[in-house]
Amino acid sequence: MLAALLSSLMGYASATLVAIAAQRRGLVLVYTLSAMAGTIGSIAAIGFLATNAMPVETTLPLGLPFVGVHIRVDALAAYFLIVVNTAAAVISLYALEYGGHDEEPERVLPFYPAFLAGMNLVLVASDAFSFLVSWEFMSLSSWLLVLANHKQKDTGSGAFLYLIMASLGTGALLLAFGLLSAASGSYIFASMHGATLGGLNRAILFALVLIGTGSKAGMVPLHVWLPPAHAAAPSHVSALMSGIMTKVAIYGLVRLLFDLAGPPAWWWGAVVLLLGGITALLGVLYAVMQHDLKRLLAYHTVENIGIILIGLGLALAFRAGHLDVLAVLALSAALFHALNHATFKSLLFLGSGAILIATGERDMEHLGGLIHRMPTTAFVFLIGAVAISALPPFNGFVSEWLTFQGILNGSLLPQWLLKFIVPVVGAMLALAAALAAVCFVKVYGVVFLGRPRRPEAEQAHEVGLWMVAPMAALAALCAAIGVLPQAILDLLRPVAAVLWPDAPSLPAGDWLWLAPLGSDRSSYSGLVVLTAITLLATLLVMAIHRLASNRVRRGPAWDCGFPDPRPETQYTASSFAQPIRRIFGSVAFGAREEIDMPAPGETRPARLAVSLHDPVWDAAYLPAGNAIAWMATRINVIQFQTVRRYLSLMFGALVLLLLLVALGQ
């Protein structure tokens, strides 16, 4: 395992070196090396989990003196190594062709493998110092990747916001590790297990971890940076950031809260559940309102992080209530969804990249009819859309189904507050799932179906094999996991055992029927559903074509007798979203429609303006930004003082600090 891990990391490192040395000529080599490194890492991690191997560890003589860099791969790290490296391998293959379309590939190439290496290092780091350094390395390299398209407007402001939020997150994590290492007297994870923290300190630790990892994952209200940053990056980087970097953040959350922080308090579960529910619902509502394809997908990342958080919150609540089997079930559901989201979100972002290459457009209102021009992309994008909408028989449904099984057992929890929260969060999750379907009917219907709205969409061409094949591979993965989910649950068994050695593992199911709590509680089989639908549909086709009629005549569209050939008469993305905007948007976003209808005889066109307000931005970020600006102007006074005053200020500060030290003792 270590050898494979090391060679994988060496692969990423040499790719970075190649990129620095060869600039844009090294493109093929960089992405090939990254793909190979990803493949090695992924296969090794799968082998590690499948054989249920013992954790491996080593210490490198780098980093802080007397601490060194501690590397440790256990089942939890291995599971996330699979998620990261599998997606990385496929995305790197896609980038072989896509990267060639980048305007300035030398702005992407060196940071791309470095970013991948950073994510890998976060997963295997097992002391606070190397964890934080890798975390920051990951943040900064992705920040540089966001800046690659620096000539587009909005990129700068998006990247700036990202940098601020990333610093905030790392700062929170730094303090969290400070608490842990102060209590245990060591920077090494292994000795932090025994750390005993007081009640208040544990609460502070919980809040810091939630801020630190939640800001990276895109948890509401710390999500504001995510859509602009993820959308601004080149599409294969967006796929990496949305598909897998958010999963590394989830890993951080699980590692800190489930592993290092000790036994959870029940109210942790309540907080995470509520935040998860709000994140899921608000994320999908934001997404429905969008008509920029990449931003919409990024908001869906926020939604899916919410779903993962709901699973994790349930796991914390069950664990605190000593319902260990259910805790394992909820944890497995959350981690399963993390993998699923990595597959279909990468697929969808790669699809948006293909559309961008073929048409040069990200705005859905300019597209349409691409199913005729880009048939293969349209087909694989459809699979991704169905999977993310949590519809059977694909993988998104399986993990949501598992999460629902956890929610259904929430009545067993001892705390009254949780008994109230769990069904409400269940309703939020159900609403989010239904709204995701609305959103992806909108995306698919507007982008791929109908008639082209602009010449760019009309003249689009299918992208090349090197872009289509990786997307098809991800689509196949969505289908395979959807019909054979038990394989993933088997991989997850040692993960739960690492976190909670005393908890019983889920009963071994057979490969066909998914029944985590026994078949009398609930059962589902994706394979049976898929086979039955295929069989019934084929039978229908054959029977009807043979016995009834198989004649087809092509003609103009009927459209109730008044067909209008102009593509502007089609439903647009914003008209599709109008009912949802009216029902939910007026409450959540203060949505307002202003119709400017000219009087009869006037020649100016009628206009419809929609205004939306982001409640989180208005309530938290604007006041915070104003407060910082206000304070900055006040503090600015200090900048223009005489030497005398500076000296007295320094003297005062020294006295204050000495006083604090004296009081502390």
Binding site: G368, I371, V438, V528, T569
Partner: protein
């Protein structure tokens, strides 16, 4: 009796009975407003005629438009077969639980809404958009009813739910009362019945379901119409299986249990059809944005029903 045979019987039963239920509803509605109405078997004739006609496809229709009717019908058919009708012990019922049935209907709806957008007409768009809006509230309401039932039974598996209500004295429960009201509201909305949508209308601005399928013809239209009929049957069987399971055979039935189960199922479906027709004649269709209030109420009732059970002691 042989399990394999019974599964096939189940599949054919739901598909075969569906047009009859629709015929019954139409007939009773006509009688209630003083018309003679079409014959009971008219839907079969309509479907047969449509199946034999040629398909007229819009010139820019894609493969999705042509494949969707088959997919939609197959998905609804499977979902309808999972719901127990005359017996609780069939293998097909294990393929998915109640959540999976809701999701299968979701898959069918997804395909239908996409097909509505395929030609690029404004009617298709308006239909798809409104159908998805209705579903975005109806589906969560349905899931909350599922939770309510599952909390009582400790299972989401439909055969177990039916067995439980069949064999155990559940008694009168507030939650079940709220649940059945919520489920009926969802069923009305999902089947495009009055007051949400009018299955008989072809007046442009009031259509939801009909607007989506405006471009379909021939065998494709037949399949979609049959799918809609099947969905109505599914909801009636679902309400019957959960709330009035009497007469249903427990496990795999023998010949006597089969006959009793089958005849009681047919009677229950007929009663459901008559009640629906009576309800529809007494109410007017609502404006499309009142639908949100109607379904919001259904969602709230479902959530309340679930919360009552979560906090009640004996569950």
């Amino acid at each position: 009796m042989n399990d394999m045979v019974l599964n096939v019987v189940q599949l054919l039963l739901v598909a075969g009975l569906a047009p009859l239920l629709t015929g019954l509803v139409r007939k009773v509605k006509a009688r209630l407003v003083g018309r003679v109405g079409p014959q009971l078997f008219q839907p079969y004739r309509d479907l047969a005629r449509l199946l034999r006609k040629e398909v007229v496809l819009a010139s820019n229709a894609s493969w999705l438009f042509r494949a969707s009717p088959y997919l939609i019908f197959a998905a609804i058919w499977l979902a309808a077969a999972i719901v127990p009708t005359f017996a609780t012990g069939l293998t097909v019922s294990r393929a998915g639980d109640l959540i999976a049935v809701v999701a299968l209907l979701g898959t069918a709806r997804f395909a239908l809404a996409l097909a509505g957008m395929d030609i690029g007409t404004s009617f298709g768009g308006i239909g798809s958009s409104r159908e998805m809006m209705i579903a975005s509230l109806a589906e969560p309401a349905m899931l909350m009813v599922t939770f309510t039932v599952a909390l009582l039974v400790h299972s989401t598996s439909l055969p177990h739910i039916a067995d439980f209500f069949l064999l155990q004295a559940v008694g009168v429960r507030v939650s079940l009362g709220l649940g059945v009201v919520s489920l009926v509201m969802v069923a009305i909305a999902e089947n495009a019945r009055i007051p949400i949508d009018n299955p008989a209308t072809h007046l442009e601005l009031t259509m939801v379901h009909e607007a989506m399928i405006l471009e379909y013809s021939g065998r494709h239209l037949a399949l979609i119409e049959a799918g809609a009929m099947l969905k109505l049957t599914l909801y009636v069987s679902l309400i019957a299986a959960i709330f009035v399971p009497w007469g249903m055979a427990v496990g795999v039935p023998d010949a006597r249990g089969f006959v009793i189960g089958l005849s009681s199922y047919v009677v229950k479906v007929a009663i459901g059809g008559v009640l629906l027709a009576a309800f529809e004649t007494t109410i007017a269709k609502m404006r499309v944005f009142r639908v949100a209030e109607f379904l919001g109420a259904a969602l709230l009732l479902g959530t309340l029903a679930a919360i009552f059970l979560y906090v009640s002691r004996d569950v």
